[in-house]
Symmetry: C2
Subunit: 270 residues, 2 copies
């Protein structure tokens, strides 16, 4: 999915919601007897009108062994082509290894996008960025408490580490194939960040269970192209653990989408 296609979809739907499929067998409704694909399929069906993207957290699938890996691939098949599919896998290694990760997610899984970690530098990301028609989403400033340990450290240059990461990585890809993860709990930093990368899409987790406020983070990070995707996982997919789980997830996604519509109207983005 191209940048322009994504922007068009967002503006048409008046939603920049990404639903996170962090499907945990232990949290699924009991009546599904651990059938991950039945769960994901129902969640996608009930939420697809309110979101523009799905983010699949690979860890939850890996924890289920080969069956989980099979479910991971099948889940990518379940996502409508109209929605951006993101493998949230946070990979990254030396070049010959990153080549294999790129193959695993972009070719084998047919994901539109993959999250990657920046620590190992340029050659660890090059394999992903070589795919011009796929999205590489690099960790910038994450939503967790641990962001203070390294990401927010001050460098000798006066910049924070995450600023250096975003500035440097920003020159390695384009606005057409590179996004950044920036946590919703970091609203005070998101404005500064737009000075460094005025146009790149941001994938923003941390709204909902992690405590980020949708309106605040949208206002400081949105551009006239919108250029943000806000992810919500647990608050939507586990809205109910009863037989009405899909309906409840749809209601929750709808609620977030309606909030987004109001925000877009307030900022006058059409």
């Amino acid at each position: 999915m191209t940048r322009q296609e994504l922007i068009t979809t967002i503006k048409q739907k008046q939603s920049y919601l990404c639903v996170g499929l962090d499907t945990d067998i232990e949290k699924m409704p009991a009546h599904l007897n651990g059938d991950v694909l039945a769960f994901n399929s129902a969640i996608i069906e009930s939420t697809k009108d309110y979101c523009v993207s799905y983010k699949i957290n690979t860890a939850f699938y890996e924890a289920q062994g080969a069956q989980g890996w099979h479910n991971l691939k099948e889940t990518f098949q379940l996502i409508p082509k109209t929605h951006l599919s993101i493998a949230d896998a946070k990979r990254g290694d030396i070049g010959n290894t990153s080549d294999q990760y790129a193959k695993a997610f972009f070719n084998e899984m047919q994901a539109d996008a993959l999250t990657v970690a920046p620590y190992m530098g340029k050659d660890s990301l090059a394999s992903f960025l070589a795919y011009k028609d796929k999205w590489t989403i690099v960790l910038g400033l994450t939503s967790n408490q641990g962001a203070h340990d390294f990401e927010l450290l001050e460098l000798a240059s006066g910049k924070k580490l995450y600023q250096e990461v975003i500035e440097k990585v920003g020159t390695w890809g384009t606005e057409e194939n590179l996004m950044f993860v920036t946590g919703a709990t970091q609203a005070s930093h998101l404005g500064d960040l737009r000075n460094i990368i005025p146009n790149h899409f941001l994938l923003i987790p941390g709204v909902g269970k992690q405590g980020g406020n949708l309106k605040d983070i949208s206002k400081v990070s949105m551009t006239e192209d919108v250029a943000i995707l806000v992810n919500s996982s647990r608050a939507i997919i586990y809205a109910s653990t009863g037989e009405n789980f899909a309906e409840a997830a749809g209601e929750e996604a709808k609620k977030v989408a309606e909030e987004m519509k109001v925000i877009l109207e307030e900022i006058n983005i059409k």
Copy 2:
């Protein structure tokens, strides 16, 4: 495997070699018809006398889809209990997600050790370090050119980022369940690093194809407990692509082990 068991094995074998099973279907001998488990099994059989550990690079398995993930698990079963089995997966995410990765590798795969990336800080590593009888191996200073992009940046404190990572992370685990990845191409930094973590085990990749010199890096990083594992992947497992591939791999591993024996004798470690 405990620290003491690992040290004892190293001293008995006079080898601190870790063989990397970066098994690439495209580089395997043609007569195996892509049978990854036959390849790994033969390589393990021919090299096990000369090494103390196997490192499985998960990317090469993930690139093969659900069958690859199955092969990954089966390969962990092939590794003798006398050898430390490492999942080289470079995972790391927020707490509830890292919990799932820990489950995937420590429980489901039954790996003894897992490599993880430090960028997201303490709470992203806590899930792994909570396993006291497993090893968490954190990226410190990697062997690739990209290490210069972020890992070697100077902080406002005057330290390099990788030094801060090693110093801080060093306080989150113990010498019994925490190691660091430090690349063999970084010999000039390995000595300094021992001032920060005098006793922790180091996993050192980058000897062989990546150009690191075994003797140099061993001398600057070894302690009286040895406390290093030097990994070699491609130079050993692809020593020959003919029908004699296993024999050739064994010969290559033996050659490295003999070099290690000489180094240990020179430093008078018994």
